[in-house]
């Protein structure tokens, strides 16, 4: 799956969004990324469903799900790059938005189980029956409807992002302080979600999903559909992010990154711009989480762990901060490396990850994209 498969010249032709050509103007990396997504959307379903399983070209359902997960991580990295690369806000808590989106989707999937759970209760999920709860807590109401869950996937992280951003940016919490507070936020949420009393399954989280929109969640065709949905979401989100950073608002946001006091002095309400971008980014992270959960089949409080959030930061740094497509690339690549390494030598992975953090900051601060560009330049 390299760029060779989709020559960059024809990449734009594959995208049926002629009106957005202006957005992609001069954005070769973005064109490659969108072309790649388009190719994946077309090829993966064919290679998985139509090509017989003994053919060397066949892609197993396992691989499809794995790639779907990488795409979700790429989307998370993209959302992080929007705030870090273009607004200079280093969030160590984006995993919280990801997990909240995941929980919203998990609640829908939980309600879809119906009476097929171990206890066979038509309304209550198993863990609530186990805890002896009589009825569904109010915040679980409505999650049996997909449209409501889909709305909440964006609304819950968005609301948290808005409230957090409004509080933080209004009182001018910046730099490392903001990073630490965002880490504290995801840490607090992790502790809270570990509690059984919260009504989100405590330690075990939500799992044992059966189907989504009436289709069995373990069926290959559903897996492929989820993969295609992830690829579409990534492509669409890329266009949204690109549109934001190319807009006038995006220019102001970049100015905030480079010289916030100066931008403020000129007369821009910098906190409003930051809250805006931050909220959009939180919603995109939530979307990534919502696509991630049905593919892995579980969501539990460890998704909130500060390590996950900070790993996402390193994906962005490895790919290339402030390039959007580089971040997405980093998200997919680092996770692919993790899959390879943990299968080969599990102990080594944390050394490599730690080394990546150090190397990327010391030796190639512009990430992979920076390396490629330098080679082009020389």
């Amino acid at each position: 799956m390299t760029a060779k498969m989709t020559p960059s010249g024809s990449a734009t032709d594959l995208i049926p969004l002629a009106a957005h050509r202006r957005i992609l103007h001069g954005d070769l990396g973005g064109k490659i990324l969108l072309g790649l997504m388009a190719a994946l959307i077309v090829l993966v379903p064919i290679l998985n469903l139509a090509v017989p399983s003994d053919s060397p070209l066949h892609i197993s359902t396992y691989a499809v799900t794995l790639m779907g997960r990488y795409l979700c991580f790429a989307l998370l990295a993209l959302s992080l790059d929007l705030v870090w690369g273009y607004c200079g806000i280093l969030s160590l808590g984006h995993g919280a938005f990801f997990a909240l989106g995941g929980y919203a989707m998990g609640m829908y999937l939980m309600r879809q189980i119906g009476d097929r759970g171990v206890y066979g209760d038509p309304v209550l999920p198993d863990f609530m029956v186990f805890l002896g709860w009589e009825e569904l807590p109010w915040y679980w109401l409505g999650f049996d409807q997909f449209w409501f869950a889909a709305f909440m996937v964006l609304a819950v992280p968005g609301t948290l992002g808005f409230v957090f951003g409004w509080l933080a940016f209004r009182s001018r919490v910046t730099g490392v302080y903001l990073s630490i507070i965002s880490q504290a936020m995801t840490y607090a949420l992790m502790l809270a979600f570990f509690r059984n009393e919260m009504g989100f399954g405590g330690n075990n989280g939500l799992t044992d999903f059966k189907d989504i929109l009436g289709f069995s969640i373990s069926a290959p065709s559903t897996r492929v559909a989820l993969f295609v949905a992830s690829a579409l979401a990534l492509a669409l989100s890329y266009l949204i992010c690109r549109a934001i950073v190319r807009s006038r608002l995006g220019r102001v946001v970049t100015a905030v990154r480079d010289a916030e006091p100066r931008t403020r002095s000129i007369g821009y309400r910098t906190d409003r711009y930051k809250v805006w971008v931050w909220t959009v980014s939180a919603m995109l992270a939530g979307l990534a989480g919502a696509l991630y959960v049905p593919q892995v089949g579980i969501i539990n409080p460890s998704e909130f762990s500060p390590l996950n959030s900070i790993e996402a930061v390193v994906w962005v740094a490895v790919g290339g901060r402030g390039t959007l497509f580089g971040a997405a690339l980093g998200g997919a690549l680092v996770n692919y490396a993790q899959t390879l390494l943990t299968a080969w030598l599990a102990e080594l992975w944390l050394f490599v990850l730690g080394g990546l953090f150090v190397a990327v900051t010391l030796f190639f601060p512009r990430g992979l994209v920076g390396l490629l560009r330098r080679r082009e330049g020389s």
Binding site: S171, S179, A188, V313, F357
Partner: protein, 542 residues
């Protein structure tokens, strides 16, 4: 009946020894023989008989009586399946090592099929405990006497009271005398005479023990005599008030001890982050290195556990400090003025250090044993006692605090550190080697983190994730207290600890932590500079 059983067994044993040979008999004194017979009776069929045998053993006054009884309640007393002899057994790899209960000599080994445990129920266990305690009342060892009286507090029957009444005059230790008076008072509360009960209530005035409270509560509702009920009621509310007050004091103490741990963890950060402005995410791992150093020092001197911690304190400081200097020289030096990059790089270092510890030691937790002089507690009264190891941690934290204060205010190094942090260019201009000072300052902060690790190793298990739990907390303490201010760290750490402990009973430990986090986030909204904001030029640059 039970005399008969014992008697026939005795006859049987006599016959057996006679048959086996007289020489064996000659080695046993009369008292031993009688004792052996009583011990053998422990392997009786019914629990009643076993209880009677235990009573007989206690009454015998034999020097090994308490050993045998203790073995009985510890489930270390077994009998041979063949022959039925009662033996003391210690589990070994393949089975059991046996000891003769009467002589205390080794009696060979047995597999698990050859011996069976002498089974007792909880009633006998309680009785035997009381028996051991009563035997311990006359012990020359004060701690044995103290424990004995404590045990008897649970069951102050008249026979016990009688025995204690004869002993109380001669008891040299005041605290044991007090407990003895409690036992006497409690047994007199059960008297039939209302006047006697009133006197007993008077005698018990001022005691906060659980037992006294329960008994007084019982009297306040159920006593047939009106005056006794009234007085007991008054006493009960008095006791409850006082206990509540002491409970509060206990919470403050727990809060202070938790706060001093937070404080210790945060001092290093107050130096690296507060003074130097370097955000060091590997700080928690430096704490972990300190804790592992303690563990290694303990492994190196297994015969001097009591003193190993005194060696561990400087060792942990030096090891963690060396790691700190290495980190500063190798990574952080290149990233000054780029806080976000520093954060990422040091986070990577923390992952590497964690994995290093996992590879070198193991992913499992390690236990560091506390020295004997740190265990135990100072009991202020029945409702409030100060655990010694927590007390030591508080003292240690304060010691570190004042030592740091002295370093910063009184030494040349401190002066230079402050000079560099306030105005680097000017400090360099007057001849301070700022890069050397950077290394030393960072090393100092890392060394203090190592000291925190020593303290933590005394309170929890040592594992690769030890530091992770403290990194967020330490940052919060530093930010809450005010960056670049050791006093802020002191007040911040202690107040967060106390706040946490006061929330915990109402909300549970986890929610308390969440609430404290939310509180700090809101607090920073109001006062972004923390409790003790830095003033002057440094503040405006930050």
């Amino acid at each position: 009946m039970r005399i008969n059983v014992g008697y026939w067994r005795f006859i049987g044993m006599m016959l057996a020894t006679l048959l086996i040979g007289a020489p064996a008999m000659a080695q046993m004194s009369d008292a031993d023989t009688e004792f052996a017979e009583q011990v053998a009776a422990l392997n009786a069929r019914s629990f009643d008989e076993k209880a009677a045998a235990a009573q007989a053993i206690a009454d015998s006054g034999h020097p090994r009586a308490s050993t045998v009884l203790q073995a009985l309640i510890d489930s270390r007393l077994y009998f041979r399946v063949v022959g039925g002899d009662v033996v003391l057994a210690e589990p070994t790899d393949g089975g059991f090592a046996l000891t003769d209960p009467v002589t205390g000599e080794a009696a060979g080994t047995a597999t698990q099929y050859e011996v069976r445990r002498v089974v007792i129920n909880n009633a006998i266990r309680g009785e035997v405990r009381d028996l051991i305690a009563r035997a311990g009342l006359t012990s020359p060892d004060a701690t044995v006497r103290r424990d004995a009286v404590r045990q008897l507090l649970n069951n102050p029957d008249p026979a016990v009271a009688e025995q204690i009444a004869t002993l109380i005059e001669d008891e040299p230790k005041a605290d044991i005398r007090q407990d003895m008076a409690l036992v006497l008072g409690l047994s007199r509360l059960g008297s039939d005479e209302p006047a006697e009960r009133l006197l007993a209530l008077d005698a018990l005035r001022g005691s906060l023990a659980d037992r006294v409270r329960n008994q007084v509560r019982d009297l306040a509702t159920n006593d047939p005599d009106e005056r006794v009920r009234q007085q007991a009621g008054a006493m009960l509310s008095n006791i409850e008030d006082k206990r509540q007050l002491w409970g509060l004091a206990e919470q403050v103490f727990f809060g202070l001890s938790m706060g001093s741990v937070l404080m210790l963890a945060a001092f290093g950060l107050a130096i690296t982050f507060g003074v130097m402005g370097v955000i060091n995410m590997a700080h928690g791992e430096l704490i972990m290195i300190g804790a592992y150093t303690t563990y290694v020092v303990q492994l190196l001197m297994p015969n001097h556990i009591d003193y190993s911690i005194l060696v561990a304190i400087p060792a942990a400081f030096l090891v963690a400090g060396a790691f700190g200097v290495a980190i500063e020289r190798g990574v952080i030096r290149f990233l000054y003025g780029r806080p976000l990059e520093t954060l990422l790089a040091t986070f990577g270092l923390s992952l590497i250090l964690q994995q290093l510890v996992r590879t070198v030691f193991s992913p499992l937790n390690r236990q560091v044993s506390s020295p004997a002089w740190m265990s135990g507690s100072i009991e202020v009264n029945a409702a409030f006692s100060l655990t010694l190891n927590r007390l030591y941690v508080i003292a240690f934290a304060l010691l570190v605090f004042f030592a740091l204060l002295a370093i910063f205010k009184r030494t040349t190094l401190g002066l230079r550190v402050r000079a560099v942090s306030q105005n680097r260019a000017m400090a360099r201009a007057v001849g301070v080697s700022s890069s050397r000072i950077d290394s030393l300052t960072f090393g100092l902060g890392a060394g203090v983190a190592g000291l925190a690790g020593v303290a933590l190793s005394q309170l929890t298990n040592v594992g690769p994730n030890l530091g992770q739990g403290y990194i967020v907390d330490s940052f919060l303490v530093v930010v809450f207290g005010g960056v670049g201010n050791l006093w802020g760290t002191l007040v911040g750490g202690l107040s967060l600890g106390v706040l946490n402990k006061f929330l915990e009973p109402q909300t549970g430990a986890v929610l308390a932590k969440v609430l404290v986090l939310v509180f700090i986030i809101l607090f920073i909204q109001k006062r972004p500079q923390g409790l003790f904001p830095q003033r002057g030029r440094a503040a405006s640059e930050g």
